[in-house]
Symmetry: D2
Subunit: 92 residues, 4 copies
């Protein structure tokens, strides 16, 4: 993925939290918790997976397309910064 070490650690921590949420859904089903509780856990899981999508896409833009913080072309840097903002809005 050629991400910075810091980005990679952040993403892996996020994926592990998602694994914890999936396990919580599994336990809720095993324990025959109320349907609404299960649905609310699944809703949180959906939100977390959407957040992960957005972060991986942002990292891809920064590392493989244009990094808005370092690109020498100001127009392209602005376009990339706007794109990242839009990705966050749409994928949340």
């Amino acid at each position: 993925m050629a991400h910075t070490i810091k980005d990679k650690a952040k993403l892996i921590a996020r994926v592990r939290r998602i694994r914890g949420q999936v396990e919580a859904v599994e336990r809720a089903l095993e324990a025959e918790l109320g349907c609404t509780d299960v649905l609310m856990l699944v809703a949180s899981l959906r939100g977390a997976v959407h957040g992960l999508s957005s972060e991986v896409m942002e990292d891809h833009i920064r590392n493989h397309v244009v990094n808005p913080d370092t690109d020498p072309d100001p127009e392209r840097a602005k376009g990339a910064a706007e794109l990242i903002e839009v990705v966050r809005t749409y994928l949340k």
Copy 2:
């Protein structure tokens, strides 16, 4: 959840497959797989979580609101059958 045993087993099997998909994303990040590969794995995970949402909601309708296959009121049974179809369309 007071689901039938069969529904519960199906849902748990589905959640376990999702856990496997989360672990695949984690391994892909650890192995520094290409960004696009990671994004495609996350896209599959999103799809699977959407499918789970839809199935849990359908079970809730059948078990706690109106079961279209057994409800004695034909109008209400039709309304519930249509609702389930719509939930499948919207949540996929």
Copy 3:
């Protein structure tokens, strides 16, 4: 749709606001407004269409499946109230 007159009027007002948002996107494209402005207008439109989906589905549950406010069976009324809450969470 056999909705109450009040529900119907509310839904039509909502659809007309959405038409106004679509026209705003069209004008923004015609006027060659900045891409980010167009994307933000489209994001608002998405949100409004999701809100409409949720409201039409809620009306369907109340009018054709189970109305949680009037159903004589307390378990079924509770199941329908929970379902409406969940639909709002998932479709927003």
Copy 4:
């Protein structure tokens, strides 16, 4: 938006089709069509708005970040092509 004339014409045609779909939902409500018919029209509208989001975002990437077909840097061109593919997958 500084798009090519061709992109702009395509987007405006797409927005006009969406306006037609909104008007169809309005007519269906006015005519008190069945709830499921209304919900299916709203589902099509959602799909069309998601398609518009994806196309506007793709145009933004091509015109304001990196055009994969013309960028002189092959790595960056590849990153942008992958990004466009991913946007299409996620926003549909």
